[in-house]
């Protein structure tokens, strides 16, 4: 099977996907209500999409193609409100967060659909353990070669994005010590991690053909890379983020990605190289484990700083682009979060440390998800 052609998309347009948790209001454990919720929102007149996900206790919302921060935020708000009123009718809670803090994976059920059934058969318990909730952001690319440049360029910012979005400190009832434990579940999949270092679309097609000939993959969907090209949309898709606890943060992170992409596309500030990836998994681990305080090793200078400092530095570098895109206010909020050392994972952990039982933590997550303008 050959790779489909890279579609035309508007450069720097964005699309945001959020995987959400569906929980009961009695014990705040996950509940299998995706089917009921989809039925309840089937007639909703709202931009974007509401889709089933791997297990019956998850749902995915996705915006349409957005120009920037404002339109993405507006669409996410409308989707959240639609889901919110359906959820009240069904007496369930909806929340963000990369993992459910105490769900037991053995109790999850796979959503009834051919692709989900296939994945479940292939991956066995991994598919159920994959009850984790991520934010994916698409960025429109004018050409496939630019898409690959952007993919490798953005790979330097993966730790930044992990630290900003981290919201999964608890797994199966325990504190993992990680800020984003969700990514550890993703790593169990055989085709996860980073994309191969190829810089032209022709080379990428050749790589895909070879992989396809091995019989290991049949479409781009079989790759669980941190960033992967999505030829059918003409985009690259950044997939390392946990679903934040609020849509304000989700939209701000999407705006950060869009601004970074504009900076990379227009200024072409770096020469991407295979050696960039020498430090990739180290940096990525540091971000998952320690968030802003993690060590960041610069791929060229090999200088050691913290991820927090790197985020602040990057925000300074891209300031002009943020203003052009109308993303400066949103990025300003991310900036102050980094200086204050606050993110969702720390918020959850502090709340837990003050004695909040995990079910009440999930209840607070649901309230936060519905809260207007919370970051």
């Amino acid at each position: 099977m050959s790779l489909e052609a890279f579609a035309v998309s508007r450069a720097l347009s964005i699309g945001v996907e959020l995987e959400l948790q569906l929980v009961g209001t009695h014990d705040y454990d996950l509940v299998p209500v995706a089917e009921d919720l989809l039925r309840a929102t089937a007639d909703a007149d709202v931009e974007g999409d509401i889709k089933p996900e791997m297990t019956c206790s998850m749902i995915e919302i996705s915006t349409g193609v957005c120009d920037g921060h404002a339109s993405a935020l507006q669409q996410l708000q409308a989707l959240r409100d639609t889901l919110g009123s359906a959820a009240r009718r069904l007496n369930i809670g909806i929340c963000g967060g990369g993992t459910h803090p105490f769900q037991h994976w053995g109790e999850r059920r796979i959503f009834d659909g051919p692709r989900f059934r296939h994945l479940s058969e292939l991956y066995g318990y991994l598919a159920k353990q994959f009850t984790v909730f991520g934010q994916h952001v698409h960025v429109g690319c004018p050409s496939p070669d630019v898409a690959l440049y952007l993919l490798h360029g953005l790979s330097r910012y993966i730790p930044h994005l992990i630290a900003l979005s981290a919201s999964s400190p608890f797994v199966q009832g325990s504190d993992t010590g990680f800020e984003s434990a969700r990514l550890n579940s993703v790593l169990a999949f055989p085709l996860s991690g980073r994309a191969p270092f190829v810089q032209s679309w022709a080379d990428f097609e050749a790589y895909f053909r070879k992989m396809s000939d091995t019989g290991v993959v049949s479409s781009m969907k079989d790759f669980y890379w941190d960033i992967r090209p999505k030829p059918e949309y003409g985009t690259i898709e950044i997939r390392v983020m946990d679903t934040p606890l609020t849509i304000a943060r989700a939209a701000a992170i999407a705006a950060y990605i869009q601004t970074l992409a504009r900076y990379l596309m227009i200024e072409r500030p770096i020469q991407v190289a295979e050696d960039d990836y020498l430090v990739y998994t180290f940096n990525r681990f540091q971000a998952c484990r320690f968030g802003y305080d993690g060590t960041y090793v610069h791929p060229e200078t090999h200088e050691h700083t913290t991820i927090g400092e790197e985020i602040i530095a990057s925000l300074a570098r891209i300031e002009q682009h943020a203003i052009e895109l109308g993303a400066d206010v949103a990025l300003g909020r991310l900036h102050s979060d980094v200086t204050n050392g606050s993110n969702d994972a720390r918020l959850l952990r502090e709340s837990r440390a003050s004695g909040t039982p995990l079910p009440e933590l999930v209840m607070a997550q649901c309230a936060r998800w519905m809260k207007e303008d919370a970051m």
Partner: protein
């Protein structure tokens, strides 16, 4: 000197031996059912019957009178938990649910009463049977749900409808008792007694809720002390309610609803009080079975068969008609009606309480209700299990 150091022959055993054997038999029947993909609680109901006067005769009707407190405690704990699962705010967000519950109650009352009356049953008895048929067994539903780790929309609605229909059933039966007082020309009592029961239960519920709130502030209900404290409150409540001649049904249910209304946080303890609760349930079924004899069943069988058919039709109609308006699809709506089939210990207690006031009438009522619980206590939980299974709401897992 004649010291009692050597055992007398034949050996004399106290009641403990039978209690132990009965527990073992019931648990084993439950386990056999479980292996056959039938919920344990159906097996408990069956075992209770076998151990009682209907078959083995290890226990007779006196057993329930003696140990009534245990059954009341079990029911109170279950109903309190059921109440806490019922978030009254849900009805505001989805008024269709109230309509479903209303239809469920009214249709069951009218259709069962109508069917029995048309068949020539006297109207007092027809009404009392219909009032009891309105309810559903909280113990059976909750045990089935916890055994299959059920969760989802049908499960949640099943809890809600069970709570509302049971409350309605208790109130409707109170009115029936009022009617019996009236038939004796005691008009003041006919009005005052149902009012006393309702007001007393409401007040009792409020007091239990306050007590729980006070415990909740100091103890985690999931901890050992927390659970002990809740059981203690329920024991006190049952003792006081019994002394006041109030049924220990509505008050704990009201209490649970009030607690959840005032404090929407999750209130979690081991579901149905873990193994203590499980033991109480088994004992309750043994004691309930002790009230049912073959003579009684024979007397009530015909009317019971009719009442069961009418009740089944009514509950299915109500949920099939109103379920879709509340956000369920057709299949789940019908499943909801099926899930509400069980009728067991609580229904028997209701009939027994009537009998304590009006022995002759109560005996006839108990005959019908006993025969109904024979069928619906065993087949009902199986219907609930299958309905939830078909809607994919069981997590397949076992309790432990």
């Amino acid at each position: 000197m004649d010291l009692n150091v050597w055992p007398a022959w034949p050996l004399h055993f106290g009641g403990l031996l039978y209690a132990g054997l009965a527990l073992a038999v019931t648990a084993i029947v439950g386990e056999v059912c479980r292996r056959a993909d039938i919920p344990r609680v159906a097996g408990y109901a069956l075992a209770g019957l076998l151990l009682g006067p209907a078959a083995l005769g290890w226990f007779d009707a006196g057993a329930l009178t003696t140990y009534r407190g245990i059954v009341d405690l079990c029911v109170a704990l279950m109903l309190f938990e059921l109440g806490i699962r019922l978030d009254a705010r849900w009805f505001g967000a989805n008024p269709g649910l109230l309509a479903t519950a209303f239809a469920d109650i009214v249709l069951a009352l009218l259709i069962v009463f109508g069917a029995l009356w048309a068949a020539g049953v006297d109207s007092d008895l027809a009404y009392a049977v219909a009032a009891i048929a309105v309810g559903a067994s909280p113990i059976a539903l909750m045990r089935v749900a916890s055994e299959g780790r059920a969760s989802g929309q049908v499960t949640d609605r099943m809890y809600a409808l069970c709570a509302l229909s049971l409350a309605a059933s208790v109130i409707l039966l109170n009115l029936a008792i009022g009617g019996l007082h009236g038939a004796n020309r005691d008009w003041l009592l006919a009005i005052a007694h149902p009012l006393y029961q309702l007001a007393g239960s409401a007040l009792g519920g409020a007091l239990i809720a306050v007590a729980f709130g006070a415990i909740r502030k100091r103890l985690n209900p999931g901890s050992e002390q927390g659970t002990a404290a809740i059981v203690a409150v329920m024991l006190l409540a049952v003792a006081i309610l019994t002394a006041l001649r109030l049924p220990a049904l509505l008050a704990p249910l009201f209490a649970g609803v009030i607690v959840k209304w005032r404090d929407p946080r999750p209130h979690l303890w081991p579901p149905q009080f873990g193994s203590i609760g499980g033991l109480l349930v088994i004992i309750s079924f043994i004691l309930a079975g002790s009230t049912i004899s073959l003579d009684l069943l024979a007397a009530g069988a015909g009317v019971a068969a009719l009442a069961i058919a009418a009740r089944t039709a009514a509950k299915l109609c109500a949920s099939a008609a109103f379920g879709p308006a509340t956000g369920l699809d057709r299949r789940k709506s019908i499943a909801l009606g099926l899930a509400l089939m069980p009728l067991s210990v609580v229904a028997l207690l209701q009939a027994i309480d009537v009998r304590s006031l009006y022995p002759e009438f109560g005996e006839r009522l108990l005959a019908v209700v006993g025969a109904m619980t024979l069928v619906l206590g065993i087949l009902g939980p199986i219907a609930t299990w299958r309905a939830l299974q078909r809607c994919n709401e069981l997590h397949g897992g076992d309790e432990r």
